[in-house]
């Protein structure tokens, strides 16, 4: 048993299985969170029927998708139609392999980590193009063409934004980038006399466009193209396109957090006096606080099973928060908590965009990409190159 745990492949393989098994569930709950947050922006309640406050909605949705009839249009290219969602899914998931969840928990730390992510996301575009092309429907074809043009336009700006961060880090390895921030004792977004905020903003806008989210959701603009590239898809296949979309959202946020917001480092990583507060107390308070606030909701729930489930969830949250106060577990949990917490904040920001901005016209989208984002990104690289020499 000990030989298995000590094996160098043990943590990578375990992480692989956990990520692949859990991410579909996480994606389902991301959808629920997005619906709930958007509902809140619009003064509605959002999903409330399945489980207390709609907490079981993702499971019901997944079951429905699997049990739905799978329709492949007659004129479509069957083989490519079959393969396209698989390409989208596995490329989106493979990017998780190089994410640094903590100094010890990761699948692999190759020395070209960030290149692996851009490589697989470039292949992921193929899934969308092939899916739209093989459906043989006008909406799908237009959606996939728009998608391809949009993704390649913003990829250039995205790479420029990454270049600025890589210049400061001096390495392409995802762990190496976080370690470089640990050594400098500062998150890279505040590096170079604070100028790194400019590439971060370019990164955030391009990442929103790369993940096809509102205000850049032209590839699947409902009011113009019905469903865009996945108009003809139904059931599990459609589910896989959604899964890859949310995986891309997660990965884009994770890359932003790793390059600019310190990865798994807590705030003020160089101040040892704050270590206990940020590593143990803060996460414990977050979990215990959300547990306590869900206790308040219990008496208002109309059904008894809902009340029981909510009580179990509240107790589990408080208990999980208490685990952070155990010193032996803190060293394992705290970095993962900070990595996921920052990702959650970036994802919340993207949902906020969706609740705030109307969709762009296609020419506006191309203008922003080619006339603003690329020159700003290129300029940011030049300014950072000069500023970086003086730091």
């Amino acid at each position: 048993m000990n030989a298995v745990i000590q094996h160098p492949l043990f943590i990578p393989v375990l992480t692989t299985l956990v990520v692949c098994a859990l991410f579909p569930l996480v994606a389902g709950y991301l959808v629920l969170i997005e619906r709930k947050v958007l509902a809140d922006f619009q003064v509605r309640l959002g999903p409330m029927r399945v489980g207390p406050h709609g907490l079981l909605q993702p499971l019901a949705d997944a079951l429905k998708l699997i049990l739905k009839e799978d329709i492949i249009p007659e004129d479509s290219d069957h083989l490519i139609f079959w393969i396209a969602p698989i390409i989208s899914t596995f490329t989106a998931l493979t990017a998780f392999a190089v994410l640094p969840f903590s100094a010890r928990i990761f699948v692999s730390d190759v020395n070209v980590g960030i290149l692996v992510i851009s490589a697989v996301s470039a292949v992921g575009i193929l899934g969308i193009i092939l899916g739209g092309w093989s459906s043989n429907s006008h909406y799908s074809l237009l959606g996939s063409l728009r998608s391809a043009a949009q993704l390649v336009s913003y990829e250039v700006a995205l790479t420029f934004a990454l270049l600025s961060a890589l210049m400061v880090a001096g390495t392409l390895s995802m762990q190496g980038i976080v370690h470089a921030q640990q050594q400098r004792g500062v998150w890279f977004v505040f590096e170079n006399f604070g100028f790194m905020i400019v590439p971060f903003v370019v990164f955030l806008i391009s990442a929103t466009a790369e993940t096809n989210r509102i205000p850049f959701d032209l590839p699947e603009a409902e009011s113009e193209l019905t469903g865009g590239y996945h108009t003809e898809y139904s059931g599990v296949r459609w589910g896989f396109f959604m899964l890859s979309e949310y995986a891309n959202l997660f990965v884009a946020s994770a890359v932003g957090v790793t390059l600019f917001w310190g990865g798994w480092l807590p705030p003020f990583p160089s101040v040892a006096a704050l270590g206990w507060f940020f590593d143990a107390l803060f996460p414990a308070l977050i979990f215990a606080g959300s547990g306590a606030s869900s206790l308040v909701l219990i008496p208002k729930l109309p059904y008894r099973p809902h009340r029981i489930l909510m009580a179990i969830i509240a107790a589990a949250l408080v208990a999980f928060g208490a685990l952070f106060l155990v010193p032996a577990l803190t060293t394992w949990f705290a970095p993962v908590f900070w990595f996921l917490f920052k990702i959650a904040l970036v994802i919340y920001l993207m949902i906020w965009f969706r609740g705030t901005f109307p969709r762009f016209r296609y020419d506006q989208l191309m203008n922003i990409g080619w006339k603003y984002m690329i020159p700003i990104g290129m300029g940011a690289v030049m300014v950072n190159a000069v500023l970086g020499m003086f730091r």
Partner: protein, 118 residues
């Protein structure tokens, strides 16, 4: 094989297997009752007027060509970005020369209207 790649390939294999197996498994539980209308491509309820694989605007090709130029450019910059500290001012000067040549090209493409959509 350089270190660190084995877990990456294991992950890749698992990530390919996951959607494939789910698709195959879902076939066992889902109903299948195809009909002629169901299998038509969707076009707001009317019969598709034409095959979708027709002509589309040349703008998409221009965007693709521009992308190749700028993407290769960023690929060239990556090795410099990693060695930025070691190369120092010399590297910065070289990259400024490289980027200024590209900026001239960018301005030319801008003037020619390559970035105009419509």
């Amino acid at each position: 094989m350089p270190p660190g790649y084995l877990p990456l390939f294991i992950f890749l294999a698992v990530a390919i297997l996951l959607p494939t197996l789910t698709l195959v498994a879902a076939r066992l539980v889902r109903p299948s009752a195809p009909s002629r209308t169901k299998l038509e491509p969707y076009e707001c309820g009317i019969k598709a007027a034409s095959n979708s694989r027709g002509r589309y605007t040349v703008r998409f090709y221009i965007i693709a060509i521009l992308f190749v130029i700028f993407d290769v450019e960023t690929i060239f910059l990556l090795p410099w970005a990693v060695q930025y500290r070691t190369l120092g001012w010399f590297g910065v000067a070289e990259v400024f020369v490289f980027l200024s040549i590209l900026i001239v090209g960018y301005i030319w493409a801008y003037k020619k209207g390559a970035f105009e959509w419509v």
